[in-house]
Each structure stands twice: as structure tokens, then as C-alpha cells.
Amino acid sequence: MLRSASKSLWLLLFSVVLTCGIYPLVLWGVGQTFFPFQANGSILKGPGGKPVGSALIAQPFTLDEYFWPRPSAASYDATAGTSSALSVSNYALRNRAATMIGPVATYSAGPKKGQPVWPDINAWFDADRFEGKPGIVAQWADAHNELAQGWVTADPSHASYVDGWSKAHPDIVAQFVKENPGTPRPQASDLAVVFFEHFSKDHPGTFPCSVTEPGAGGKPVTTIAPAADCADIRADFFDMWRQDHPDAPLAEIPGDYVTASASGLDPDITLDNAEFQLNRVANAWAKDLKRNPVEIKSQIQAMLQSRTVSPGGGLFGGPIINVLEMNLALRNRYGAPP
């Protein structure tokens, strides 16, 4: 027993010296000597020579001038990479894809081939009938309570809009408390579904959209107001529009445009995805630089082609593009977007 205990401590001691001391130090020496770029995180230098990111880590891009990476469940936070962990049967997964598709969906056939779908979503939303029944927004909130609550908590301005509404309608709040004795002092998010039900009745064909206007002192002020057209409608109601139009021929969006990676930090997109975004990127640069969009497009197309790589030289997978490196090349070629 005692002998085994002392031998255990010796084994532990030798192992710690070997595996915590010698072994990592050897690798550290080799890495810092022969592969200093990789061993320090593959940090790229941006314009002005400052570190701009890691070639291996996705970072967010929202400007039209840049290619956008895949959606990130981690919000591109490289201290806390994470997946969405959404199962196939979780509506949140379908909803994320639908809200990303709505604003960019186009028809693939018929008289409107190539045209965007969103004007039709707006027209359908104005008519305010889903599956033959009136009140799209009320039906949306009833079917997806969590999305309605999510809208309220997404932004402080949303919550204060609902608070303002509930102060103006004490009778509805009282009725809610009577039906839900478990929540005697309902918060804005508790009232989300009730709020949308009444909103739908009071403002048919509209949604509480953010409107940003220059306020006093020139500082932009964001307020919420019922509106018949805003980005939220195209995004949030695309799935319901689709249920009403299941056979409308739509162009397929590249899978990686709407799916989140496991790390939330996938630095690449597929070549298909890049080409899908190409028109938006080229038009934005052409507008900024006041140049011919066709010419810019062919330049960027050539840049994409030269930067395409395939996993394992094509043995394991199809062509992909590193988003940060591509955007850095765009930035170096055309300057900073305004």
C-alpha cells in the first residue's frame, strides 16, 4: 500500500516534469523558431500595418462592400466560440434561415424571374390575411410566442414601446393579470403576445418598425412606429408568406449563407456563397467609386477565383474562400468604404 503510494507520487512527479515542462517547451521552441506566424495565431496585418484579425477566425462584416461570413451563434466572439446547438426540429433554426432569406430571395422562374420577392411579401402583408384569416401579426405572435417575446427583449426601444402601450391600456393589462395569476406584475416581454394581438387589430397591415430620424441637436433618434414596410417585415414574415405560397418558384440560397458553423468562427464561405453575394459587393463598390459595375464585378470575380482553395486539394471538399483575407484584398485595392 505505502509502497504503491510512494511509487504513485514518483510517477506523478516524473510525468509532470516530462509532460508539463519538457514536452510543451520543445513544441514551443519549434513553433516560435520555425513557424512564428502560425504559432502566434495567424494574425494578419491590416492597412497601416496594425493587426486586423486572425486568418483563421471569422469576424463580422455588415457593409455591402464586403463579403459576409456565415451567421455566428457566438456573434463572432473569439473568446467564446459556440454553435447554435439548434436541433433540426427546433423552429428557431428554420426561423433563422427564413429571416435571412426573406430580404434576398428572388424568383427562379415565371414572369418575375430574377426579381426580388420582398415587394410581394409587402403586398401580402398589407392585405393582412394568412391562410385566409385576417391578422397576420396576431397569428404570428400566437404561433411563435418565443419570437414575439424575443422581439420585445431584442432592443430597449422595443420594450419601452410595449411599456408605453400597456400604460395606455390598463384594462387589457388587468385582464391579462386576471387570466395569468402567476404574473401579478407583468413585464413587457410577458405581455408580448397580448400586445401583438391588439397591435394587429389596431394597426392592420403594419408592424412596429424602427424609424431613425435626426432629432434635436442633429443626433439621430430611433423611435418605434407602425409601418407598412421595413426590413423586419421582409425578414420575420417571409416564412408565413412562404406557407401561403408554397409553390412559388424561388432561387435557392447557398446552404452556408443561412447555417451557422460549429465554432461560430468559421473563417470561410463556399465559392457559391461568394458568387451569390458578388452582385451586392460589386454594385456597392461601383457606387462608391463611381465606376462601371460590370468592370468592378469582373475584377472581384477574378480576385475570388484566385483566392479559392479546396479542402485537401479538392480530395475532401469543394471550393471555399477565406472571408477576411478576401475583404482585406478588397480594402487594399479599393480603399476604405465610406
Binding site: 504503491s4 503510494a5 511509487k7 504513485s8 510517477l11 506523478l12 516524473f14 516530462l18 508539463c20 514536452y23 510543451p24 513544441l27 514551443w28 513553433g31 502560425q38 504559432a39 502566434n40 495565431g41 495567424s42 491590416g46 496594425k50 486586423v52 469576424q59 463580422p60 462584416f61 455588415t62 456565415r70 466572439d77 473569439a78 473568446t79 467564446a80 466560440g81 454553435s83 446547438a85 439548434l86 436541433s87 433540426v88 426540429s89 427546433n90 433554426l93 428554420r94 434561415a97 416564412d239 408554397p246 440560397i253 447557398p254 446552404g255 452556408d256 447555417t259 451557422a260 460549429a262 465554432s263 461560430g264 468562427l265 470561410d268 479542402p311 485537401g312 480530395l315 475532401f316 471538399g317
Partner: protein, 605 residues
Amino acid sequence: MWTLPILLIVVTILISIPLSSYFASVMDGRLKGPRVIAWCQSRLDSGPQNWKQYAVAMLIFTGALFTYGYLVLCLQPIAPLNPLGRGILAPSTIFNTVISFMTNTNLQHYSGDQSLSNFSQIFFILPNMFLSASVGFCALTAIIRCFRGEPTVGNFFVDMWRVVVFIYLPAALIAGVVFIWQGMPMTFASQHSVATLQAGAMGLDSHGQAVPQHIIVGPVAATIPIKMLGTNGGGFYGMNSAHPLENPTAISNFETTFLMMIFPFTLVLMYGRMLRRVRHSVVIYGVMLAMMIGVIWWAINFDTLRPNPAFTGTPVAHAYHVADANAPGGSLAFTVPKVASLPVDQALGNLEGKELRFGTSAGAVFAAITTDVTCGAVNAEHDSLNPIASISPLVGMWLNCIFGGKGVGMINFLIFLIVGVFLAGQMVGRTPEYLGRKVGAREMKLAMVALLVHPLLILGPSGVFAATPWGTEAVANPGPHGFSEIVYQFSSSSANNGSAMDGLGTTYGLNNNPSPAPEAVPWDIATGLVMLFSRYLPILAPMAMAFYLGRKKPAPASLATMRDDTWTFGFLILGTILVIGALLFLPVAALGPLAEQFGPIPFGG
């Protein structure tokens, strides 16, 4: 698509053949090495041990490792190499983590990049990974020596030292250099902060300044080789081998997958070589390989070759009627409503939770292999696999002998072998034999103990957690998938695998975390205990069984002896494994993944 798994299997087979004879010579002590290593070995040698002394030494050493691990994790706040000022982990998480790494499970109820300092990564993770992987290796060696009929089974401490020094360390050094070349960080710094190319894309702070992107780095290339070689599987980063700095390219992914396969493959052949029954081990190898090819095919076929059903919708509504005596009319009706498809191009299969740089089928291949060899690293999100494809990793954990972990996979297979020859013996009315020795009642009892621990420790706690808020409050996905998450977590704990469906809320994090997962503490404790029991009982019982079997006199082979080196024998064992496995686990598979796949998608609002 198929190139990746084919290449992986072929390369692993080709390398495992010569490597197995090297392993045999290391374990038989024919390799001496430099003077300093021999000196250390002489310090460790406490003389020849019988199986009981060997097992006691193993348990005492485990106790020492447990204490050491606990101390290191508790020291994190005051230890060096902690520039980000990480505090102490929650007590229940320390308990869980210490057991998890000591038992070679590497279930992680914390996120390495968010909760551990580089001190803990080096002084806790590294020695645990080397040593826990060696324990199973040594246990198998002891069993082999029992079967050889040797009166003593060697010395535990000497065996451990040989495995670490002659097998793991050189392999890890070579693998680490390749990983660094591919882009894995190897630094003692903790974090880089960079100004994003699109200024302010990470948001603005309270002063209106653009928030930089912070990138966690560290001695990643030291952890990952042994994480894979030792089939440990505990990632430096929370997202494990999916994280771009933990698995930068398709080549590093190939290497990662290869490293977790190579030693389990090799050990089967080492078993044959050390027993001088190479043909017998080739049959075992073939059975394991057939099962592995099966689960890889299953995963690719249902995940890479099929779209994610979340987007495809349900073209036609289905109605099901289920007999129910209490319902009016004697049957209950369930409807799977019609759902329109979304216009998503899914030619590359289910891309949710997959990384693009590894290649098309890499996520599915990895998911299948990581549970076969009880590694538990992941390079894709198992929660987001197509439900029917997720049966593949589950089966790997349930059978737990498709090559299996270092040594213990072979030991688990041994149990099925004993049961298989017993069944065959019953069928022809002869006393069952293994390696020429008669299998008696005592050996069968020990084999059954080892066999039944695993399903009991999966199904029992899964039932308890599925029925209480411990489970229902922790699952992040609706309906049957929530059940799958619970079953997966306990399967992973009991198989000492360590992979997880990450939606399950089991992370407490640092002790001062203001908003931990609500049910993190019961999960920490329950899975901690499951890992402990399911690690040591299935090692100790087979060791005892091997001892009792080994001391019997081998009967000379006669015409009536069932030969154990034929393909007939292989089919017999394969059938035994599949029948026992299906009897034990088919019901939970039906309640979880199958119900999700064939039920309504989406499930609820």
C-alpha cells in the same frame, strides 16, 4: 465525399500493422531507451505484482492523480500564466472535471477558452491526458499477461512509464509539429486583441469606441496531439476540434482523425501479437472494422447526403393513429402538418453546425469515429446532426467496443467474446472455451457485471433526469430531441467518451458566474459518478475474469474445439454484439432520434 473516410481507414490500417509490433516490444520490456529513462524506471519499479496488487496500484495511483488534479484546479486564481485573471471553477464543476479527465472521459462542463488559464491547461490537462490514457493501456497489458498464464502480471508503474515515454510522448511531439505548421497556436500568451477591418463591426463600447475582437490563444499545439492520441477528447477551446485554432485546415483535420484512430487499431493487433494469436486478433480487427465502416456509412448517408429537414419542410401532411384504450374511439390521432420548403441549396448536406474547411463529409465521419474510439472530440455540433444520423455516434457509445478507447475498447470487446462463446457453447451443448480454457460460472458472472454496468449507468440516470426538472430544465431543444440530449450525455459519460450535444445546459462556469445553467450542479455530480463507476468496474471485473481464466490449464485443441480465428467466429461475435446492443438500446433510440426524424418538423412554435 467518400475519399476522406476511405483514405483514413486505409492509412490507419497500414500504419497499425508495423506499429503493433513496436507496442508489443515496448510492453514486453524489450526497449530500454536512454540512461535517464532507465533510471526513472528503476525508481518506479516496485517489483512483480499479481493481478490484485496491480489493480490496487492502479487505484492508488488514480487517487493520487485525483488529488493532484483537484489541487491544480483550485490553485488557478493564484497560479501564474493567468493574465486574464480567471477565478476558481464552481466546486461541483471541479469535481466533475477532475473525474472526467482522470477517467479519460473528458466530458467538459466548462469551456476551456472561457474558464481555464494556461496554467491549468498545462498542469491539469496535459498530465491527465497522458496518464489516464496510459491506464487503460496498462490494464489491457495486465489482462494479456493473465491469459498467457503468467503468475505475475508485471509492474503497474513500470508499464505506465513505458507507455508514456516510449509511445505517447514521441508520437505527440511529431504530431504537434505538424499541427503548428498547419496553423495551431503554440504560445504562452493568452489573448490577442485586434481592430476589426470593418471598424465597429463588433459593436461600440460605452465611450462610443469600436470594440476590438479578442482572440484566445495559448499552448494549443501541446494539448491537441495527446488529446487525440490518448482518445481523451477534451478541447483547449469549448468548441473543441471545430474551433479554427484547434483544427485549422483539412490536413489538420485528417491528422486529428487519424490520431484518434491509430492507437485503438494498433492495440487489437498488439493483443494478438503478445498472445501469439495474430489470426484471432485479425478476426477481432475485422469485426470492429466492419462495425466502424457501418456507422461511418450511416452518418454520411443520413447527414452529408441528405438535406437538413428543418429547411426542406414536409410536402404532404401525415396522420398517424395510435391505439389507446383511454381515448374516445380507442385510438389517438396525431397529425404531422404540411410545411412549405425554404429555398436553400443543400447539395452539401446538412451544414448547420459544420465547418467548411474540413471537407464535405468530415463532420459526419468525425462524429461516427469519435464515439467508436471513445475519443469524444467533436468537429461539428452533434445537436444539429440530422436526427437519424445522430444514431451513429450514439451506437458507437452504446456498443463501446468498435475499437474503443485505449485498451478498454479491447477489454469491452473481450466481454462480448466471452458472452459470444458462452452462447455458442449453449447452442451446441458444450462447455464454452476461450483461448483453450473453459469458461466457468465465476468468469461468466464477472463478465456479466462488466457488461451490465454500462447500460444500467446510461438508462437509469437518463430515466431519472428525463422525468425531473434536472433534465427538463436543462434541455435546449423541444420534444424528442431534448430526450436525445439527456441520453447522449449519460451515454457519453458511461462510455467515457466525452462528446456532448451542446444544447444541454450543464455549464456552471467560474464560481462567480452570475447566471450559471440552472441545473448544472446535479449534472456535474451525476455524470461525475457515472464516469467514475463506468471507468473502473469494467476494468476491474475483466481483470479478475482474465486472472481466473488464465490460471486454468489450457486444454489441447481437438476437432470439437470451436476455432476462434475463423470468419465464422467473427460473424458469431458480430451477431452477439448487435443483438445485445439492440436489445439494450433500441427503445431509447426510438424515443429520441427516430421520433424526432419522423415526427413533426418543426416541433412546436
